[in-house]
Symmetry: D2
Subunit: 333 residues, 4 copies
């Protein structure tokens, strides 16, 4: 009797002897290897089918994959099972180099992330780094709470997200809803981790030698599966001339310039929505138009466009992050 391609055991006697005497049977269960568990067999089955499908679509697919390692993107995302890097971007194997950890962090002292960054930027020369967070992130929820009193590992691991929370306490406390606080901290965490990437020695070195590298911060919504850009592209340290005595005013001028440009854009776009006199972008990212706060929800009166507002916010975020990068990089001489 020909055995199936997964099994080794053939005749009842032989396999049953092996099953019964299998040393891999521990007290917690775990049938012998020779009679494979269904769930893993299912995965192997899926794998075979996926291979067949790929070859059917393109017979040379795996040949080329072997030789090539030229991804254009590095993705730094959350380990959360519901946010799969490749699928939600519609990318194929070979296109995205991936780091996934709890809370999509990119702190400089984490050798794990920094090695991914170094390898992908320096050796593979990816052109883009995308930091992707997601609303409802468990790590962010945990970071909102008081520090745990147990010395478990996750509690130490999320300390940079707690730092982010502390720095934006004023803004977060003004939000009524706990869920709104979680979602806003998800966004702030993405901006913070993007800032870490931009100011990392790896990226600073890449920009210094003129390497093309663009950075984005995005957030993923589990409600509708959509990616929303929060900041980017950031492609260099910017052209901020910072003098020690003048930086504060210079920085303020820069943000003001960004906001004026945003206002001009809103003015152009919003011509159809009425008279736009005053537009301001406040620290927490809310854009006001004629004293009415634009939200990301579409309004019946057509006054705001979610995508327009998002693009504006991203524009202002980019300006601000660029500002902070310049602050960070241009120290004292």
């Amino acid at each position: 009797m020909a055995p199936s391609s997964e099994d080794v055991a053939v005749s009842g006697g032989g396999s049953q002897e092996l099953s019964n005497s299998s040393p891999t049977s521990s007290s917690s269960g775990g049938a012998g290897v020779l009679g494979e568990r269904d769930h893993f067999s299912k995965l192997l089955q899926n794998n075979r089918e996926w291979c067949k499908a790929r070859l059917a679509a393109d017979p040379k697919f795996f040949e080329r994959l072997c030789e090539q390692q030229n991804p254009e993107y590095l993705w730094i995302g959350c380990s959360d099972s519901r946010v799969p890097a490749n699928q939600i971007l519609g990318l194929q194997p070979g296109e995205v180099f991936v780091q996934r950890n709890v809370g999509n962090q990119a702190t400089h002292t984490d050798l794990n992330v920094m090695s991914c960054l170094e390898y992908s930027v320096k050796e593979l020369k990816v052109k883009n780094v995308i930091v992707c967070g997601h609303y409802g992130c468990g790590a962010v929820k945990a970071a909102l709470k008081l520090p745990s009193k147990t010395t478990n590992l996750v509690n130490c691991w999320i300390s940079d997200i707690r730092e982010c929370r502390n720095q934006h306490r004023a803004e977060l406390m003004q939000l009524d809803d706990h869920q709104a606080q979680v979602d806003r901290l998800c966004e702030l965490n993405v901006l913070r981790q993007a800032f870490h990437v931009a100011t990392s020695p790896v990226v600073q070195a890449a920009w210094d030698r003129g390497q093309e590298l663009h950075l984005y911060g995005v957030v993923y919504s589990l409600k509708d599966g959509q990616i929303k850009k929060l900041v980017g592209p950031i492609s260099g340290n910017g052209d901020f001339e910072c003098d020690q005595a003048d930086f504060e005013s210079h920085g303020a001028t820069y943000v003001a310039a960004a906001e004026a440009a945003a206002a001009a854009a809103v003015a152009e776009v919003g011509a159809g929505v009425g008279n736009l006199n005053v537009v301001s972008a406040t620290l927490d990212g809310r854009v006001s138009l004629n004293g009415v706060t634009l939200t990301s929800e579409a309004k019946e009166d057509g006054r705001s466009s979610a995508a327009q507002v998002d693009a504006l916010r991203a524009y202002i975020n980019t300006a601000k992050v660029n500002n902070r990068i310049a602050e960070h990089v241009n120290g004292w001489h």
Copy 2:
């Protein structure tokens, strides 16, 4: 004119003014946000299409995704762009919690990996942990070489793979081909990282409280996209009674028992291939049948079956890794 949903700029004048004066234009390029770069727009476009496709197949898909976080698998894989966790297993968002790093490592001192492990095992209660390596891994190639003399980050990061290389020097040196050495070290590294997962405090604690958790080590081939199981399932510390004075012989007896069982299986299976007198499993995993080494390539004479041999090797690996876990765990009292 209604702007497209991606753009904010409308009339040429406005946008061009913004483009020209855009503070985000740094010397390295980077067009203003308001006129988005093609490659990122392409990704957003892919994302929209993927969302539509999912909703078309299942209107309630994202609703359910929001609430649920019940993955059955934790995947510890390599960051390499050519090995996408979800796609090659045919799994959907929500099914796999993912850690990806350079060289698919799971060392106990890496807070990044250990936090993933802790969160997925303790909070999400995944049922399976899969460590997945891949042939041709760049990290493994680098680990075969003498230590670099530059203090870059990757060089420090891969030190556990160098430890693996050192421990298996004898076996690796007997392979003629550099490529064969790389591939064999890929396999040995997977076995080593699986061992680290099994002996981690997180997993030891889980098994100690009776939690169901199965561990697998697999390797992915870029040549044909196929996943091959190297070891597993390992579901507990095993039932090894280890006494300090007897352990060596006990251990030897155990491996011998495993090999005898394997031989019996081969005998049963191979009845149709001739007279099988001598079967042995050597330290490097090669199974010999009548003095002829079984390889994973199919032979015309039908003497060996690749899948049968792989299953046998996995069986023996599992026995040996279980053995090493017992050694590791059962210290001195």
Copy 3:
């Protein structure tokens, strides 16, 4: 001929043969072990003498040292050779458990420091943790500069000190002198690392179970060898009742109360120096008395006392750090 207790070689012939053929002679030098290098022999010699001196002073010294491991202090200091933990505190072996690293850091994600903290607090039950920085610290100097463009290790390691610099940019930029900026950042870094210790899961857990544990932040001056206390003792999370809606004003009230108390103290102490109407403590720690800034230098007119001012500053720092701890710990419910 009896060989000296250090050497093995005896007759000229034997040792010279060994020296000549010593496999430890590498091209970079390194005389054979058998004829020991002077500098290490010197250290062994110092060691023997130190042992004799200790036994002469107390014959049972080493006996007791063997059994006991009851230090009262954990010292987290800089690796800098010029700041030896034990000597500058006049403590004996057995009294201080020590962690020393570049920049005296205590970030939560560093397993090295956190393990020291956990072991000393949980197992050895030290009563005090002292974070000690020092003026002129090389790590702090490096953190003031723009991020290096080389991916070396120290550059990643000091990123938390750069974070400290960024958060206190306004204050630092007002200091004219680069040296003054370095010294002030040394102090701010000590306050920051002390805050990390206080909010670490290890210490939070200890205070939660009622363990006696006091925290101090100090700075060491290479100019005169003196330790100056910056903050402490901090012995718990404080008794801040923080309500989400009220925290801002509550916090402000608390600091005001601290300052008023400080003012009363100054008034009491300074009765002999004239009429004291206005005292204020500004964000950067400068205490003003009648509009005249008190410095730490002794003034001929006796108006200020360096120790009094330091104690006041420490008092105010303690109040502020306690405040920040409360902010950090009392999150949202």
Copy 4:
């Protein structure tokens, strides 16, 4: 009334009010800053006295300390309070750059240790690195036990010492006494950490550019305070020409040569103890002389000299570690 230099409070009324109302009084105790706790005052007092003593001995001591940072040694030792780096070597501030952590580890993936190593070797150009362990080390004791089932931090931190235990299982299990096992693992851990230092990218780079750098591994005995050298000096990768096909035999020849040389030395030295025909150094470091095992205890018949045996063992250890370094470094080409 002139206040003491430590206190700020003066008149009973004022200070008592402050004490009573001090916000730093938390429920766990902690008297107000203004009336300082005895134990910390004691430390400040010790510090003042130490400063006076140093100035009395050398008025320019601190002046010179300020400018100079030229230590000759990097010390990697255990945090254990009973092993103070400076005091037991009789060194002064300015002479030793120090890293202290639980278990005196130097793994490549620990950014904390590696930053110390990089800074001291590359910037300060220390000439010697000393790895110092100590008998009775708590971290080593813990590593001998089965892995804990609690995910605390120390348990993850000591995993490299568990790796050391696993690799030397055979030798350790032959020791009857648990205490002997702990002590032998302390020694093996020192050898292992020294090996890590030698093969670290930092040290490999230093040797590659011809920098003078010598490495030692030592162990400290709490019983008598004495430092014993286990291995060193190691000053380079050695001059081992390793060819892939020949390494095994070459390695064996090298060790044999070392042992023969050691035997010749023993023969020379031991001329007065009788006829020496057979001397061998076994894998576990025991030296036999005429079939009688030499121990480190002095024997009445004068047959063995503890110092001679220690020097021989160090010689053989050095040869073996050099051998392993060569193995590690000279990979495949």
